[in-house]
């Protein structure tokens, strides 16, 4: 009897993805609560790793009519010493155990694993970036399966009938396989013809039939399968500039705040763009591009010139990230100190060079631990940016002095184009 083996391993995965999404959508409020709760006490970095969450079973529960209590009878294997008529104590250790398998009411929470993406998705769900106008397709990351012509081997499911038949036809024509009509015609002729012609015809028919047998209708060499190839899909890309003042006035605490701020921005961008580059620029009175470790931990000292960092950023944008190809995001963290003489340069760089090419420019003014954000006096940089904003520059700015304020600030920064940002052209 015919038996078929089918290789399903290459079938597109995630068949139950839609079911999972339905489930998450239904449980959204619950899952979001769980995500929030589990993220409260942890470091942001860990939070974004996703992982197991547990949600209350209520609402997710699928009820059924089921019985409980009453007189129970059960047959069990493995009797060792009981004889008929023994009474076994109901609760407690030992023998009574089997009779009290307390129906799983303890299972009041439902635990499952959220992927990192799902976790972040839920976490950032109601956030949205400013207009993502540029979407130059470039730079490959993700992959998909795409048709890529035909191949001579493959699974039966991918058999391309039309191509196979076409090739078979071509081969039959090329090899001059006699058409059935020709044979039929000769056979019809055979019916009424003289003897001499008859043997001639018979021979001819025989020859044709032999040829038909030699040249199969479909030959294994005709068979073609549809070929699929994993191809990288082009995706939009973004570059994120992290600017930070690392002069002596920035304490570890402030750097920590800044780091969290960048991290969240990064997560946010990786969610939106498959490819995100990060450029770290630290500055004192001179600015330089550094790697992440140096950025956060490298020692540096000197005065403070914000314009130097902006200058470097502008230089990098010009040389490496054509604004036509990249979505440019910048996040600046500073304690707000800047030499007053620098203001004009900063203003010019920002309004003329940087803001026009940036999707988004955020300034985070970090304060010392313990100080409330409202107590923070407006710094020189803050005042400068404030003025720029008043003139219509697209800047987002916040003051933060405690770790717990980062989430709200972040939320605030990206809130669906609320407040003043919205009004800005």
């Amino acid at each position: 009897m015919a038996m078929h083996i089918i290789d399903r391993r290459l079938n597109p995965g995630g068949k139950s993805l839609e079911n999972r999404q339905r489930f998450l959508r239904r449980a959204k409020a619950l899952v979001q609560g769980a995500v929030k709760k589990s993220s409260q006490d942890r470091d942001i970095k860990d939070v974004l790793e996703g992982g197991e969450v547990s949600i209350p079973l209520d609402g997710m529960h699928e009820p059924r009519f089921r019985r409980e209590g009453g007189i129970r009878d059960m047959v069990l294997p493995g009797n060792k010493k009981f004889v008929e008529g023994d009474m076994l104590p109901r609760s407690g250790e030992g023998r009574g155990k089997a009779s009290a398998p307390g129906e799983g009411d303890s299972e009041d929470a439902f635990r499952f694993v959220l992927s990192r993406d799902e976790f972040v998705d839920l976490f950032l769900d109601d956030l949205e970036l400013p207009d993502l106008a540029k979407r130059k397709l470039a730079e490959a990351e993700s992959e998909g399966r795409q048709r890529a012509g035909y191949t001579t081997s493959g699974s039966a499911a991918n058999l391309s009938v039309s191509r196979t038949v076409r090739l078979a036809l071509a081969r039959r024509v090329a090899l001059r396989r006699p058409r059935p009509e020709t044979i039929a015609q000769l056979e019809a002729e055979l019916a009424d013809c003289d003897e001499a012609r008859r043997s001639e015809l018979l021979a001819e028919i025989e020859a044709l039939k032999a040829k038909v047998r030699r040249i199969p209708f479909i030959d294994p060499i005709d068979i073609r399968y549809r070929r699929f190839e994993n191809v990288p899909k082009p995706v939009a890309q973004a570059v994120m500039f992290c600017l930070m003042d690392v002069s002596g006035s920035m304490s570890e605490h402030m750097k920590d705040l800044a780091k969290r701020f960048y991290m969240l921005l990064y997560v946010f961008l990786t969610r939106r763009y498959r490819h995100v580059e990060i450029i770290f620029i630290r500055h004192t009175d001179r600015a330089e591009e550094v790697d992440e470790d140096t950025f956060f931990h490298g020692p540096a000292s000197g005065g403070t010139l914000v314009s130097s960092a902006l200058e470097v950023m502008h230089e990098i944008v010009r040389s490496r990230f054509r604004p036509a190809d990249w979505n440019i995001y910048a996040a600046q963290a500073s304690d707000g100190d800047n030499s007053t003489s620098d203001s004009d340069v900063v203003r010019r760089l920002l309004t003329e060079k940087i803001l026009p090419v940036s999707q988004f420019f955020a300034y985070l003014e970090v304060g010392e631990a313990g100080g409330g954000t409202f107590d923070m006096p407006d710094s020189s940089l803050w005042r400068l940016y404030e003025r720029l904003r008043a003139d219509g520059a697209q800047l987002s700015m916040r003051k933060v002095s405690d770790r717990s304020e980062i989430f709200p600030v972040f939320h605030d920064l990206f809130q669906r184009r609320r407040k003043q940002e919205k009004a800005a052209p």
Binding site: M1, A2, M3, H4, I5, I6, D7, R8, R9, G13, K15, S16, E18, N19, R20, Q21, R22, F23, R26, A27, E52, M60, H61, E62, P63, R64, F65, R66, R67, E68, G69, G70, I71, R72, D73, M74, V75, L76, P77, G78, N79, K80, F82, V83, E84, G85, D86, M87, L88, P89, R90, R95, G96, K97, A98, S99, F110, R111, F112, V113
Partner: protein
Amino acid sequence: MTATAERLFEGADWDFPKLQRIHDACEKIARSELGLDIYPNQIEVITAEQMLDAYSSVGMPLFYKHWSFGKHFAHHEAFYRKGLMGLAYEIVINSSPCISYLMEENTATMQTLVIAHAAFGHNHFFKNNYLFKQWTDAEGILDYLDFAKNYVAQCDERHGRLAVEHTLDAAHALMSHGIDRYPGKKTLDLRTEEKRAEERRLHEESAFNDLWRTVPTGPIKSPKLLNAERRRKLLGLPQENLLYFLEKTAPRLHPWQRELLRIVRNIAQYFYPQSQTKVMNEGAATYVHYRIITRLHEQGLISDGNFLEFLQSHTNVVFQPDFDDPRFSGFNPYALGFAMMQDIERIVSNPDDEDREWFPDIAGTGDVMAVLRDVWANYRDESFISQFLSPRLMRHLRMFHLHDDPAESAGVRVDAIHDERGYRRVRRELARQHDIGFIDPNIEVVDVDLAGDRRLMLRHAVVKGAQLNEGDTRRVLQHLADLWSYDVSLVEADATDTIFREYVVSPRGFAAVA
């Protein structure tokens, strides 16, 4: 054949030609030596993730979309990732062709085991057992699931995801009560009806006896009582298939909602035989794979090493922990089923006096497979156990029966054990444990208040004092009321009409407006 025959495979690796050869070798034994009768086989190789997928859609290759499957997937995945749960080696679908899924991680030996187990054992059982023949349509199930999937997707589009979800939620809650437990009466067409009327008339004429006229009849029924009877008859009451009842009579359902109920009901019905034949089905499949692979080994088609690997997996599958073992979670259907099949083999081929006394029909008849094929075709778990569980096996498994009456403060009584006095009682109880009629609560629609507020009245026949779980019952009734769109009441009462509890639930109203 000699032990030098060429092996089907060496080591653990397999490829598609090898699978084909394994299948052919198994088929030869299955057909010629075991006399199995199977659907054509289709073997599909899948990955672990696809296996998880299949888990969450009750093993079927395609299914409509619903959040609860996503929930089960998430749950299984969490367990699987933590290593708390292994995956089944195989899933087999009662369809024609019979589809068996093989995991790609399996070794060649495991694939052999799975092919023998699923593609021959289960396959034969599906094709021949009377319950499957009666209730499932192996040819049509995949097409039906395809239809169901598309239909639900269309409903999603036309009527909104939420409305469809509500309806499906409600239907799922009632799924265990959407089953016809007895083959229904066929509606007669006019011609048969006429024929029957004619036959009846002839019979009455031939059997006429004037004396009957003098026999006193019962009290004349009041018109009210007659009315109630008439109404119940019209509605087909009492009705235990709640989904069927709602589909046919719920006053305010949309046609698409009725169709959804029907889909859920049909699928529940399709799985109904499987839940009644777990022990037999697994027992038969395990017995078949054991016979086939032992034979393959005897023929030298698989090596000693691979045979040992098989024996190890086989032993794990048929392991039955004792009741006081931490691993115990009830009877393992594989273990019990396989032990019973082997026991029958012994009784048929090599009985002792006890067997002759207990099983006069089969003891010593000699043709093991003929007896087993007959058993596999004509029994379900409950009848199978109550007929074929032998005293020897009860002794071997050291079975005993506990009786737990909450009213008895002294504790749980050992009611019967594996001795002369207890065999029949233990066997009867074990059979009962496998009787779905006892496992599922017996809930029926008893009446509808057509003259009044259209309240739907249900009754739970309480057995041995076991009532319904209150929280769950309220939720299910809520779903039920939403579909019915008027009040629903449920009475829990036992055979003596003692009422334990009453529920009344009003609809939330979205089912009707959806």
